[in-house]
């Protein structure tokens, strides 16, 4: 070949595989890294559930653990509580979000709500749960504001407003936490569903604003937010940390009881705990099945409603009600945060005072020694998991960009498995496997498990901007003589710095808030802010709880602030990079 003689470097480069193929191993690696621990954990849970765990003397497969599980007192009440909590949380938060979007989409208030709720998304669940507990408890903020002038109380009444046996405070706490999540998911989906124009068309046909949205926009938006909705459902059915703070205790929801059984010093209880984890999985499946039946019914009814053509022109009352519900839920979260922040600096704060008498740093000085290692654990695990998640996500997306087709790990939905499966179902097994392998708790294993939960969020937030990057920049740089490697590092990554750092901050926030993975895989050797806060909740010193809750909320905010600062500094003279 004549050209090969004249340009030896050319033939070399051509023969070395094209860059498109050179990255093909990345989706496989990602799949192994993410699904490996989940699959292994599931097996590690399933075998002991049927009595097989040689390390603890179980050498045959049998139904023993299931029989024991069925005989636990109140076990069916626990299961029912879990299922009802999940369904009520999902219906409640989705209802508020849909009503608000229907009533207010396209208005200035909608924009404001969106902007206010976005930062609430990154708050750790447990921190919000503590704040909500302080809000609604008999000695809490709401009653303080009303006492004694309206209620006549000079000391807290003997009411059961937190950890009530029916789980109402738990459902309330979960709803206010999930509303921002579902709202932002809906906003993202509306952008793709051409919501604004559909609504306008319906309005010009004489439909009232809410009816217009419900009839013309919702049917197209719902399929796109279905996965997040189901994730909320699965989370609500199997939540542990929030339920430990707000949930009923006699009996507790199933997942909480299972974690207690699993962590019992009596190791043989792990058999029954594993069987319970399988039951927990079945509960999630049952919850999703019930939800799907409900969807079918509503769909049928909704089509009849749309076809009937009623206009409902006067819906101001309904719109105001929707706004009030959203306002109530957001104000609850904001007050919850504020309450925790005040407790962190309070020296004494007696009922029924609305404000603490004096703010001091005494709490911080008293607990400084204990906080150090906890902060170090929290930050190192979160940073490690986030870094790995961002690198993997960029790898998967770059492979996708070069090959022109989505990797099966992305299109198959396997990515979201860790978000939909109950955590106990594979975390029990993962811990048992670590124990059997003689590894015990270690930093790499803990960080790896965090990565499993962090990656989906990082990927979700990064994928849209990454895919939207204009490929002609690649072509331009290539034609200017840059290799694909140089283009990637000098042009593409810097241009995508903002979404990359944002996704990293999201990943960091997710990791900071993880409770069960830290508790089980860390085996108590790596206490983080979240696990420490839950442990402290039984002690009940509100000053200490406030301190941990405040730090928990502060870390994600710090991560976002650092990301914003880096971008602002790096591109302070580049107007084209200020918004994207």
């Amino acid at each position: 070949m004549a050209t090969a003689v004249r340009h030896p470097q050319v033939s070399l480069l051509v023969r070395r595989s094209r860059p498109a193929q050179a990255l093909n191993w990345i989706p496989f690696l990602t799949f192994a890294v993410l699904i490996g621990p989940v699959a292994a954990g599931l097996v590690g849970t399933l075998l002991p559930a049927f009595g097989y765990l040689p390390a603890l003397g179980g050498t045959t497969l049998n139904w023993g653990p299931w029989r024991e599980l069925a005989e636990l007192p109140g076990i069916w009440t626990s299961a029912r509580l879990s299922l009802v909590t999940g369904l009520a949380t999902t219906a409640g938060s989705l209802g508020i979000v849909v009503a608000f979007c229907a009533g207010w989409q396209g208005t200035r208030w909608f924009r404001r709500a969106e902007r206010l709720l976005a930062p609430l998304l990154s708050l750790p669940h447990v921190a919000v749960a503590f704040g909500i507990a302080f809000l609604v408890m008999p000695s809490g903020w709401i009653l303080r504001m009303l006492s004694p002038w309206a209620t006549g109380f000079h000391r807290p009444p003997d009411w059961l407003t937190v950890q009530d046996p029916e789980g109402i405070s738990l459902i309330f706490g979960l709803i206010v936490k999930e509303v921002p999540f579902l709202l932002l998911m809906t906003v993202a989906a509306m952008g793709q569903a051409d919501a604004q124009r559909s609504r306008t068309v319906a309005l010009t046909l004489g439909y009232g604003p809410m009816t217009a949205w419900l009839k013309a926009v919702l049917p197209r938006v719902y399929p796109q937010i279905r996965l997040p909705v189901l994730a909320v459902l699965a989370y609500g059915v199997s939540v542990v940390d929030v339920a430990m703070v707000l949930g009923p205790t006699t009996p507790a929801p199933l997942a909480v009881r299972l974690v207690r059984l699993f962590n019992d010093p009596e190791l043989s209880l792990r058999f029954v705990a594993s069987a319970g984890a399988c039951l927990q999985t079945l509960l999630v499946v049952a919850g999703i099945a019930i939800w799907c039946v409900g969807e079918k019914g509503l769909r049928h009814w909704g089509i009849c409603w749309i076809v009937a053509g009623r206009r409902n022109r006067r819906d101001t009352a309904a719109r105001v009600a929707a706004a009030l519900m959203l306002a109530l839920s957001s104000v609850a979260v904001v007050l919850a945060m504020l309450g925790m922040a005040l407790w962190a600096f309070a020296s004494s704060w007696r009922f029924p005072e609305v404000w603490p008498g004096e703010l001091t740093l005494a709490n911080w000085e008293q607990h400084r020694g204990g906080l150090g290692p906890v902060l170090v654990n929290t930050i190192t695990v979160a940073a490690g998991a986030t870094l790995a998640a961002v690198i993997l996500a960029i790898g998967v997306l770059e492979q996708e960009a070069r090959s022109g087709r989505r990797a099966w790990i992305v299109s198959g939905g396997g990515l979201y498995l860790p978000l939909v499966l109950p955590q106990v179902a594979f975390l029990f097994g993962a811990q048992i496997l670590l124990m059997v392998a003689g590894l015990g708790a270690n930093w790499p294993a803990l960080t790896w498990m965090h990565l499993v939960f962090v990656f989906p969020y990082v990927f979700l937030s990064l994928s849209d901007p990454y895919r939207a990057w204009d490929e002609r920049y690649q072509q331009t740089a290539g034609c200017l003589g840059a290799t694909s490697l140089r283009t990637f590092f000098r042009i593409k990554l810097p241009m995508l710095l903002r979404p990359i750092l944002t996704s990293a901050a999201i990943g960091f926030a997710v990791s900071v808030g993880l409770y069960l993975p830290t508790l089980l895989v860390g085996g108590g050797r790596y206490p983080t802010l979240t696990t420490e806060a839950v442990t402290l909740s039984s002690g009940g010193d509100p000053r200490l709880i406030g301190l941990y809750a405040l730090l928990q909320m502060a870390l994600p905010f710090l991560a976002f602030a650092v990301a914003a600062l880096i971008i602002a500094r790096r591109f302070r003279h580049r107007r084209g990079m200020q918004t994207s």
Binding site: T3, R472, Q475, T476, S484, R490, L497, F571, R574, G576
Partner: protein
């Protein structure tokens, strides 16, 4: 630059070709065609950045080299799009430096080249400016200087004038064609504006009408 028997397929269907074109130095050949006829994909094939969904074949010669199997960065074909595609995170000067061949080692020499290019574009002293603060016409001129600094052996133009307003467009067209003739570069332009073709002054090839219609059936 010479294309011999170049064809373009999408999913097994012939989009274009076989196409034979010869572009002499300093000449601009215009390919006219409807949207969807595969004009931009043809340029991507010439650049070596064709998306994997497409397949293409045929010889592409520049000088004595058959470059259709070379990696993009070795082909040295410059391309201009309808958007200027200045890298928004780099300054005007950094955008230009990015294009300079690495063989030019000395810092002073690289600096001098950029100053000279900016002066030619009637933008002296703009090296430290943020591209986002320039007008559309200024940005377009920077993008032309950027591609010329990379010392291409031929130039591809993908409807480079279609996004500019009428008055800017006329002046910018003049600017581009003057520089092409000065640098004695062969250039291949795709467009659907007859005015562009007329201003280019070179041969015009009507493209893809037959194929586009076939595909519609």
């Amino acid at each position: 630059m010479q294309l011999r028997g170049v064809t373009l397929q999408l999913g097994g269907r012939l989009l274009m070709g076989p196409l034979d074109v010869t572009v002499r130095a300093g000449e601009v050949v215009t390919l006219m065609g409807e949207s969807g006829a595969g004009k931009s994909s043809l340029l991507a094939y010439l650049c070596g950045t064709l998306p994997l969904a497409f397949t293409a074949s045929g010889e592409v010669r520049v000088g004595d080299d058959e470059i259709s199997t070379w990696p993009p960065q070795l082909r040295r074909l410059g391309i201009l799009f309808q958007d200027d595609l200045l890298f928004p995170h780099l300054s005007v000067g950094q955008n230009l430096v990015f294009a300079l061949p690495p063989q030019i080692r000395s810092r002073a020499e690289r600096q001098a080249r950029i100053e000279k290019a900016l002066a030619e574009a009637d933008l002296p002293g703009f090296a430290d400016r943020d591209p986002a603060t320039l007008s559309g016409g200024q940005r377009a001129r920077v993008s032309v200087m950027r591609v010329l600094l990379s010392e291409p052996r031929a130039l591809l133009l993908d409807e480079p004038f279609s996004k500019l307003d009428v008055s800017t467009r006329r002046r910018f067209r003049e600017f581009v064609f003057t520089h092409l003739r000065q640098a004695r570069l062969p250039a291949l332009m795709v467009s659907h504006d007859p005015e562009d073709a007329a201003a280019a002054g070179g041969p015009v090839i009507q493209l893809g009408r037959i194929h586009a219609e076939e595909n519609r059936k």
